[in-house]
């Protein structure tokens, strides 16, 4: 028997992308209705009315970008404070059948920031360290709210792009409520039941110990698993995340999880096209995202298929850190999707991938998670790159840079650069610190260049709010919990505030009628140019790291060391 069959798997991926694109196009149109044309579906209207009354918010009074940002920061601040306290005291609270103790303050802070910022970096193992109450009232709630926050920012940015001479970009409360009630909650509910049908557990039972002494964990997993992927959160119920048979029991559940984690980020470009009244603009961004995604998948698949000559005594691609049921295609698809978005859930252990296989998730994260990016946040990063691409192209052809009929001025450029470069600066500075202090290097599990990859991957993952890991790193030590908290908070909120400032600046611009000198941004040359800008910015920033980590390790492996 010939397994794996690359042609068969390629056909599977093409079919998958076809389905995803169709679903995303439909959902994108729905999102445009939900947020822009003031025509949300009746059930959303009925639900949001009493919520607005309770909040004391007038749905028709929009805010400036500063007001929007302030509401967002206050709300997320409350989320961090609540989750921090909940994790500290979970040991004495109910719904804790496994007797998880309260977390240490530094771990609780790291975890609270991690879930509120949509990172879901986990320096603990869920089976032992989190109660059912923390999992539901803490983590599941933030899975919804952090995804809703990301989507709200993207919606505000699209308002900025589509409005003319306005100083308003919407109401944070309304956008968040609509994102949760009109999109995330109904989809998560259906997805949770689908996953439960496959074998994902959903109960409040105590852990079961068998006569032979195996303790089997229980818990309300499906309800969290569904929104974990749908909201590109990635914070799993168990330590092994989506590799655990209770989180991801079948090839079908695996495919469903990949589909769900790509769905909303893939729909946002279509929403954008509808909202700015030019579908071609959204289609172009979607096309660029899919091209990057498929290229990354093919590279990862080929690297794992080529295998590891140091393990030549076995047949088939290396299975260390992989599950049988997903196969090579399912493993590579999940790994690509989870790092092309900001999800960070894993169904295999990246630490044990071949060096070039592990390079793919690493590079996808460092290149800014733009294919398709986190819920909302990926789109914002992509727009930042579009602004940079338009600006550089403008310099080269000697024209004033414009995008969607708006002049790109100094403020827009500053904000776009802040969005695109903040995570990269964080990664480089904090990795350098980690390499200079003993606490930073002692935490690596593997020797040689792989140890470097583990350390830099950790900061890449946290600063870009991904949450996946080269998990051999002991991330629970004080240095990593505190430096990681800083990376996650700055890596999330600085780009968000810069995005909102960009939205505010763009909303205030006059429309410039297109002229002979206008650079069209819906054409194939522009798509190629955009891909090039993304790759060049990423490579210029990170190539030395790739050379010293994964590429050096690949050469060692090929040389038989």
């Amino acid at each position: 028997m010939n397994y794996p069959d690359p042609l068969f798997d390629a056909a599977g991926v093409v079919a998958f992308v076809f389905l995803l694109t169709a679903a995303a196009a439909v959902l994108g149109r729905y999102l445009a209705r939900l947020f822009f044309h003031d025509a949300p579906p009746a059930f959303v209207r009925r639900l949001e009315k009493p919520v607005c009354t309770l909040l004391g918010v007038d749905p028709d009074t929009e805010e400036t970008w500063r007001g929007y940002a302030r509401d967002l920061l206050v709300f997320n601040g409350i989320g961090i404070a609540f989750l921090f306290v909940l994790l500290l005291v979970q040991g004495v609270l109910p719904l804790n059948p496994a007797g998880a103790p309260g977390m240490a303050p530094d771990l609780a802070l790291n975890t609270a920031i991690s879930f509120v910022t949509n990172t879901n970096w986990q320096a603990y193992a869920g089976e032992n360290a989190a109660s059912y109450l923390s999992q539901t009232a803490g983590f599941t709630v933030q899975h919804f709210l952090s995804a809703g926050t990301g989507l709200a920012v993207a919606v505000a940015l699209v308002r900025g792009l589509s409005r003319r001479e306005s100083d308003r970009i919407g109401t944070f409360w309304m956008d968040l409520v609509r994102a949760v009630l009109g999109l995330l909650l109904p989809l998560a509910f259906v997805a949770a039941l689908l996953l439960a049908s496959q074998g994902v557990i959903q109960n409040l039972d105590p852990y079961v110990t068998t006569p032979s002494g195996q303790t089997i964990p229980m818990g309300p997993v499906a309800s969290q698993e569904a929104i974990k992927v749908l909201g590109t959160n990635g914070g799993g119920f168990f330590g092994a995340n989506s590799a655990h048979p209770y989180e991801n029991p079948t090839p079908l559940s695996n495919l469903a999880e990949v589909f769900l984690l790509l769905l909303v980020p893939a729909a946002v470009p279509f929403m954008f096209g509808e909202a700015v009244g030019d579908r071609r603009q959204g289609n172009l961004l979607y096309g660029v995202m899919i091209a990057l995604f498929l290229g990354a998948f093919a590279f990862l698949y080929a690297a794992e298929l080529a295998g590891n000559p140091l393990l030549a005594g076995t047949q088939g691609f290396p299975m260390e850190g992989k599950e049988v049921r997903f196969g090579l295609g399912g493993t590579a698809l999940f790994a690509t999707a989870t790092t092309a978005t900001s999800c960070g859930a894993v169904d295999a252990m990246f630490d044990s991938f071949t060096p070039l296989g592990g390079l793919v998730p690493f590079a996808l994260i460092l290149f800014g998670e733009v294919a398709h990016g986190g819920v909302g946040s990926g789109f914002c990063t992509m727009i930042a790159f579009v602004v940079v691409a338009v600006f550089i192209a403008g310099l080269m052809i000697g024209r004033t840079p414009e995008y969607l009929g708006k002049k790109i001025g100094v403020l827009e450029m500053e904000m776009a650069v802040a969005v695109a470069l903040t995570p990269g600066v964080l990664v480089l500075v904090l990795s350098a610190v980690a390499l200079a202090v003993p606490a930073g290097t002692a935490a690596a599990l593997n020797p040689g260049p792989h140890g470097l990859s583990e350390i830099v991957y950790a900061f890449a993952s946290m600063a870009n709010n991904n949450g996946s890991a080269f998990a051999g790193l002991d991330a629970g030590v004080l240095f990593y919990t505190l430096a990681g908290s800083l990376a996650m908070a700055v890596g999330r909120f600085v780009p968000i505030v810069a995005t909102l400032a960009l939205a505010g600046a763009l909303a205030g611009r006059k429309a410039v009628p297109p002229s002979f000198g206008t650079l069209p941004t819906h054409t194939l040359p522009f798509a190629a140019w955009l891909v090039l800008v993304i790759l060049v910015v990423g490579a210029l920033t990170f190539f030395p790291i790739f050379a010293m980590g994964p590429i050096a390790e690949h050469l060692l492996m090929a040389g038989g060391a």
């Binding site: 039941l193 049908s197 496959q198 195996q214 089997i216 590799a243 005594g313 260390e320 071949t354 593997n446």
Partner: protein
């Protein structure tokens, strides 16, 4: 507008989210999943003759008895309350040493032919209950000898219990827990 103006909606909305998303939503899913998929929702557990829980079909159990199929090796000793992989990097000498030791052990037990990688490499969860059909076939002679059965008979059991799944990408594979139950069936 001041910070205070943000505070009221922020607190009220957070409390609503806590109740709706943190309490009502998981409880509703628990009730509905429990009613629609009672076995799956509670862990696909298997009970022994005395009614006690013998294990879960979805979680690998440690097996050393030569009369049964052995699951993939586990980096966490099949400790279901602490899932995870080895996280050994591809060039870590510990990985090659461990894999080569497992291969030598199989060869010492008389196994010939290629060794499927899943049989000697640890899974991501440490709890993978599945084997490729090839990794199960390699064990058939051992099981047949220990049970005084024909190798063909054991191979027939493997082939009859291949897992069917509509999704693409996966190899032909079997569930070790289900196979072992089938071996004991009269």
């Amino acid at each position: 507008m001041s910070l205070r103006a943000s505070l009221r909606p922020a607190i009220v909305l957070f409390v609503l989210a806590l109740l709706g998303l943190g309490l009502v939503y998981p409880l509703a899913v628990t009730l509905l999943a429990g009613a629609l998929f009672p076995v799956q929702a509670h862990g696909t557990l298997v009970h022994g003759h005395d009614g006690s829980v013998a294990g879960s079909d979805l979680i690998a159990r440690p097996v050393a008895d030569p009369r049964y199929f052995h699951p993939r090796p586990s980096a966490v000793g099949y400790g279901a309350s602490g899932s995870g992989g080895s996280n050994l990097g591809p060039t870590n000498p510990d990985l090659a040493d461990r894999v080569n030791a497992s291969i030598a052990e199989l060869r010492g037990a008389g196994v010939t032919g290629p060794i499927p990688s899943d049989l000697v490499m640890t899974s991501a969860s440490g709890l993978d209950p599945h084997l490729t059909v090839e990794a199960a076939f390699i064990q058939a002679p051992r099981i047949a000898a220990a049970r005084n059965r024909s190798v063909d008979g054991v191979e027939a059991i493997i082939l009859a219990h291949r897992v069917a799944d509509p999704a693409p990408f996966h190899p032909e594979y079997v569930n070790v827990n289900i196979l072992n139950r089938a071996l004991d069936a009269p």
